[in-house]
Amino acid sequence: MLHIPCPWCGPRDETEFHYGHEAGVAYPEERELISDEQWGKYVFFRANPKGWHAERWVHSAGCRRWFNVWRNTITHEFGPTYKPFEPQPKKPA
């Protein structure tokens, strides 16, 4: 079971969280103007890296707030965590 660092509550057990998806995928602004391909990229395409991945989680059985965190998909290590709209910290080495 992962120990996930909520930026408000600190590290807590994975059972308190729900995974959202890749962090930093913005809802396109001018939705009616962009091409099908651009919209399709937003709807269907996500990074699936081996290694560090910026993710969006919600502390659903805790403070219920969403946050972002770097996680290593190989080692399951957590890197820096950051709140929505905070600048993304650098990808851990």
Partner: protein, 893 residues
């Protein structure tokens, strides 16, 4: 020492308290223990602990145990066990023992209380760390316990420190990310054979530690030669311990076969305990060290460059008769008659826990072992044999067995429990497999209860030998938790039976139960399924309930619908963005049905939302979708629209909802709520009124999920039962009929109302469902952009239609596939063009009907299609998905 009486395979035996079953049986002269699972070969005890591959028992007494190694089972008075041939059977009675759980956050978990573990724990504890030591044995000392030696007092001192918790009989069987480990403590099995009422039999510990230190020691390996599985051929350390420490005197003579100096140490122990050691066969050309010198000093014959190449059986006793000692290439062998063949094939450090979290052990050729020497990470470190610190004077050869002919290979066992042989390994290699992961799956080696504790490294060695590679070039050892078999009951703890999963009941539940309604599980909710009268079956009850609603008045408990209270100055704007239709135009006191889509434009939830105030809405969701919808709303508020001032609160359990439904519901509401003007003119469809119902303040909503005139009475949750009782009492004169989910489903289907998750599966747009009217053209909303994507906008998509069976007495099974009528008689494979999602017998229609999806269905009304089933075909006519009261004349009564 007190005597203990126990039963093994139906016979009575005596043993000494504190003995393992293995010791006790050997003491009683039982060397042939059982026969193997697949080849019926006689087998005996080979090991000392959880590495045991042969001596498995089923425990019948006390709490029972379907499969447990005799080597780690303590004997107690009244113990009843029977031997297993590899295959266990689960008891069909309920385990009455208690099981508990404990959670601990600690600085350090030390796994193993041998000398290395005690030393490491002492260092950590003296540095001020909070330490837990888990150890599988009943006393500290690890290897020293096997040797029957006292543990130095300075090492034991750590156990008395206030910041140290020592847990004997506790096996850590799982290690996970971020220092999480799980252990099982056995608390009563060693005391007696009772089922304890007050004391938990086992306690499952959940640790979260900054550091886990493995001090798990090592298991000895055997060697692979013909008939190496005969009873009386044992791991040398186990044999010497049974003989020297426990005083087992069943063996008079022994031959030791070794690849390292451990064999010499065990030869000395056997000799000193009175066993005549006939020879030590050492595969190495020469050997030196204190243990070699000690063996020499005792005058034991040492045969260098020799090993066991074959063995024979005593036909009557089914134990080993003699062992053939020869050259490593199998030549020049001589037979030595002996009771015991003690095999030392080197040590395999117990790295399992580390591999669970992806730490890879390294091959150390000087130790002929995979170890964690020099391997650690933030969460894990190792000490003692796991870390490659073997102590002693071992200088093992990398040797797993002599050259063997094809005939010999057939009986040269690699994995005893799986009856897998050298020939199996050779066959796997010939079939092209080179990696341990492939060979393992081809031969089943390492997949039995012991997970290859003795055979894993041997298999890699044998593959390597065959391919001319080092063991670490074959792959790496990856194990899976649990490290030992763990009863499911112990993991469940007290969360069994009724406590296994939370059950959600409405405040009216007890009345439904008293009425004899069977319950349907909807997520965690219990909902009345139907309300049988007398001996009615569901079919009859549902037809009666449906007719009552259509002709008179029915009542349903709708309290389980998800409810989300949405407040804030931007609440209306927010709803406009998440629903496909407009909510900002909704007047206070009015309700509107809405669809929510994902960003892909597919419908994922629906429900009625009511505007309670200018900035205050009450959203209802599907019963199963409430949590998902709340998460969805909050995600958009938090991550995309933080500028919107909106708060969402789950209020599902705050409100009881009693729906009275049917043409006579107006008469009933008038009686229940004399202050309410329930006329159509004063109280229109989709409107809400506040009034007292049966003396309780209520919000009454004119919402209908059946097409009938209906009033939903919403009250504070705790008045739910009171309202239900009042409805039943006052409704008697109108023939009030309670109905359940099944009738609700039929009624809504007759009107073509979809149930999200039953008629949809996340691949339907509102247009696919024929509900273009619910999609606003005036505003943007989540998913709208996807409607114009080429695939979403293409022709020929699956669309919601009705299927009317030509024979109205036939009910199509839900989930059935639909094919073109021209393919009706075709043998499969036949291309399907749709499927049935809802199908019922209807009282109102006097016939069966169904709904489902059909390719290009909206353009195919009136056509015939076929539903092929096993042994028959149902023909059906495609219709619009609306079957009853097509003009909507009934909703106003």
């Amino acid at each position: 020492m007190s005597k203990v009486k126990f039963k093994f395979d139906g016979k009575k035996y005596k043993g000494r308290k504190g003995d393992s079953l293995a010791t006790a049986l050997l003491r009683n002269g039982i060397v042939h223990f059982t026969d193997s699972a697949y080849r019926d070969r006689p087998r005996g005890i080979i090991g000392l602990g959880h590495e045991e591959a042969n001596a498995l028992v089923h425990v019948d007494s006390g709490a029972g145990e379907p499969m447990y190694p005799a080597t780690v089972l303590p004997i107690t008075d009244g113990l009843v066990v029977r031997s297993l041939s590899g295959v266990g059977d689960l008891p069909d009675t309920r385990d009455k023992s208690r099981y508990d759980k404990k959670y601990r956050h600690v600085d350090v978990v030390v796994v193993g209380a041998g000398t290395a573990g005690l030393k490491a724990a002492g260092e950590q504890a003296r540095a001020g760390k909070d330490v837990v030591i888990c150890d599988e044995q009943d006393r500290p000392g690890g290897h020293l316990v096997h040797l029957g030696q006292d543990v130095p007092t300075d090492l034991l001192a750590v156990l008395d420190m206030p910041n140290v918790t020592y847990l004997p009989r506790t096996i850590v069987h799982g290690l996970y990310d971020q220092g999480y480990s799980v252990a099982s403590e056995r608390r009563t099995d060693h005391l007696d054979s009772e089922v304890h009422k007050k004391k938990a039999r086992m306690r499952t510990w959940h640790f979260r530690a900054e550091k886990t230190i493995l001090a798990t020691g090592a298991y000895q390996r055997h060697l692979v030669f013909a008939n190496n599985d005969l009873p009386g051929i044992m791991l040398s350390h186990a044999a010497a311990t049974y003989v020297a420490r426990d005083g087992v005197d069943v063996f008079k003579t022994a031959v030791v076969v070794t690849v390292d100096n451990q064999g010499y140490r065990d030869a000395v122990r056997l000799h000193n305990a009175g066993v005549q050691v006939l020879a030590i066969a050492d595969c190495r050309q020469s050997a030196s060290g204190p243990s070699v010198d000690a063996a020499k000093a005792l005058g034991i014959t040492i045969m260098n460059g020799k090993t066991a190449v074959d063995a024979c059986i005593k036909e009557k006793k089914k134990t080993v008769k003699c062992v053939e000692i020869g050259n490593l290439d199998g030549t020049d062998s001589t037979c030595i008659e002996t009771d015991l063949v003690a095999v030392s094939g080197g040590w395999t450090p117990t790295v399992h826990l580390g591999t669970y979290i992806g730490v890879k052990p390294k091959w150390d050729a000087s130790l002929a072992a995979f170890t964690f020497g020099g391997v650690s990470n933030q969460w894990l470190s190792s000490v003692g044999m796991v870390a490659g610190d073997f102590g002693g004077d071992d200088s093992p050869a990398i040797f797993f067995g002599p050259q063997q002919s094809e005939t010999q290979a057939l009986d040269a066992f690699v994995d005893f429990q799986r009856d897998a042989t050298l020939r199996d390994v050779r066959r796997a290699i010939k079939a092209g497999m080179q990696s341990i992961e492939h060979v393992k799956r081809y031969t089943a080696i390492g997949t039995a209860h012991d997970q290859g504790k003795t055979s894993g490294t041997i298999t890699m060695g044998l593959i390597g030998a065959a391919l001319g590679k080092q063991p670490d070039e074959i792959g790496s050892l990856t194990f899976r938790s649990p490290f030992v078999p763990v009863p499911f009951a112990s993991l469940a703890g007290r969360e069994r039976g009724k406590l296994a999963d939370p059950v959600r009941r409405t405040p009216i539940h007890a009345l439904h139960e008293a009425a004899g309604a069977p319950m349907e599980d909807v997520g965690q909710w219990k909902r009345p399924w139907f309300f049988p009268k007398g001996k009615e079956d569901m079919h009859a009850a549902v037809l009666r309930e449906c007719a009552a609603v259509r002709d008179g008045v029915g009542v349903m408990d709708a309290s389980t619908l998800g409810k989300i209270d949405i407040q804030g100055p931007d609440a209306a704007e927010f709803l406009d963005r998440v629903y496909t239709n407009m909510f900002s135009s909704l007047k206070v006191g009015q309700s509107r049905y809405g669809f929510m889509c994902g960003i892909d434009g597919m419908v994922f939830d629906d429900g009625v939302t009511t505007r309670l105030g200018e900035n205050h809405f009450l959203m209802t969701t599907t019963t199963g979708g409430a949590a998902k919808v709340l998460d969805w709303l909050e995600e958009w508020l938090y991550t995309e629209w933080p500028d919107l001032k909106v708060y969402c609160t789950s209020v599902t359990e705050h409100i009881s909802t009693v729906a009275i439904v049917g043409p006579k519901s107006r008469n009933l509401i008038a009686k229940l709520s004399p202050g309410l003007d329930a006329s159509n003119e004063a109280f229109g469809f989709m409107e809400n009124k506040y009034a007292d119902v049966a003396g309780i303040p209520a919000r009454i909503a004119r919402i209908s999920f059946s097409g009938e005139l209906a009033y939903e009475i919403n009250v504070e949750a705790w008045y739910g039962a009171h309202i239900w009782e009042a409805v039943m009492r006052e409704g008697k004169e109108f023939g009030i009929t309670p109905y359940g989910t099944e009738t609700m489903h039929v009624l809504r289907a007759e009107k073509g109302y979809v149930i999200l998750g039953q008629d949809t599966d996340g691949t339907q747009t509102p247009m696919d469902l024929g509900m273009d009217w619910i999609v606003s053209k005036k505003k943007d909303f989540i998913g709208k952009r996807s409607f114009t994507r080429s695939d979403t906008a293409r022709a020929g998509r699956h669309q919601l239609v009705g299927f009317m069976p030509i024979d109205g007495s036939e009910v199509i099974p839900e989930g059935a596939y639909v094919v073109e009528a021209s393919n009706a008689g075709q043998k499969p494979p036949v291309k399907h063009v749709g499927y049935v999602t809802s199908s019922y017998m209807s009282a109102a229609l006097g016939r069966s009907f169904a709904m489902g999806m059909l390719a290009n269905g909206q353009a195919r009304h009136g056509e015939e299609v076929a539903i092929p089933l096993r042994g028959k075909v149902i023909m059906a006519k495609v219709t619009e998905p609306l079957f009853f009261d097509k003009e909507n004349t009934r909703r106003d009564g």
